[in-house]
Amino acid sequence: MEDLIFRYLDGECTVTEIETVEARLETDHEFATVFAQLHEANELLMNSSLDMPKRGFANRVMKSLQVQRFPAIQDSFIVKIGLAMLLFLVAAFTLVAVPELGDYINLSLPDILSRNTIVYATLLLFFFMVLDWFLTKRAAKLKP
């Protein structure tokens, strides 16, 4: 019974079914009661227009994207690289400031200098320049 009523309400009935429904509405009290209930619920939902969020909703979404995207990059990438750089610098300066430490860990300052230090330092500098360029570009793209 409900299935027929729903199809009638949704406009999916055949002509014969429409006639059946309309005839039963006249003669069948139980059918008419169920029809009235389902019809009321259907009307209520059909008439419930779309709700509107508060003005400026899209702006708030875009702002929240901006807030959430930047820490994500910082946490996952920049901070790790920053920490690695810091450790590297601390180690290098420790070795320079306390040359005896080099003896202790079996690595003296002249050893370091003799291992193409300038080449490595240049490569490292170049790497950080490229990294800086890449991150700046990416950050500019992500900025909503």
């Binding site: 389902l38 909703f57 979404v61």
Partner: protein, 189 residues
């Protein structure tokens, strides 16, 4: 706002993937009412609904790389919104807001509007008493732009199961409304 077609949406998504995140605003504008309305029906309160809608849009943006374009963007977005709303509603367990406290947006300028707001309140009261599965099915069914196949996709069930669920939910809603009316009539006497 003019409705975007599927190709335009895919073009916007491509732009976002290529770094133009500002283009996402177009998608937010396009679907804010639908997502908010769906969230509103499930959450029952505008503040909660807005939180859910905002979270859904942010989640969708973050996982845009996972959108493969096989379904419509709206279908994919609604699934995120519905899942977010359901999980929030479960966390809250009960809707702690009294429905009578629910603010009605806009000013009441005439009798029709008053009647409309009253109907909305009545409907929301019924939704608050129903299970979230049923509310979700009804919300999607009456979002107007969705077909049964898309509803099934959002609910991640078969088309026939979706049909059965909607059928069951409509029946339940009728019963709940009947019950509410009965109570209201009793209170008046």
């Amino acid at each position: 706002m003019r409705q975007l077609d599927k190709n335009q949406e895919l073009e916007i998504i491509d732009r976002i993937r290529n770094g133009d995140s500002n283009a996402y605003r177009l998608l937010v504008k396009q679907y804010e009412r639908y997502v908010f309305s769906a969230a509103m029906k499930i959450m029952g309160h505008p503040e909660d609904a807005e939180d859910v809608a905002q979270e859904a849009f942010v989640k969708a943006f973050k996982s845009l790389d996972q959108f493969d374009g096989r379904s419509k963007f709206s279908t994919w977005l609604y699934r995120i919104a519905i899942n977010t709303a359901i999980s929030k509603r479960r966390k809250k367990k009960f809707n702690t807001h009294d429905i009578d406290d629910t603010p009605v947006r806009g000013s009441v300028s005439n009798a029709n509007e008053l009647k409309h707001n009253e109907q909305k309140r009545y409907l929301q009261l019924a939704f608050n008493q129903m299970q979230e599965d049923d509310v979700t099915a009804l919300t999607l069914f009456y979002l107007k732009e969705l077909r049964l196949k898309e509803i099934a996709e959002i609910l991640e069930i078969e088309v026939n199961s979706a049909k059965v669920r909607i059928h069951r939910a409509r029946k339940k809603l009728a019963l709940v409304l009947q019950d509410l009316l009965h109570h209201e009539a009793k209170n008046l006497i």
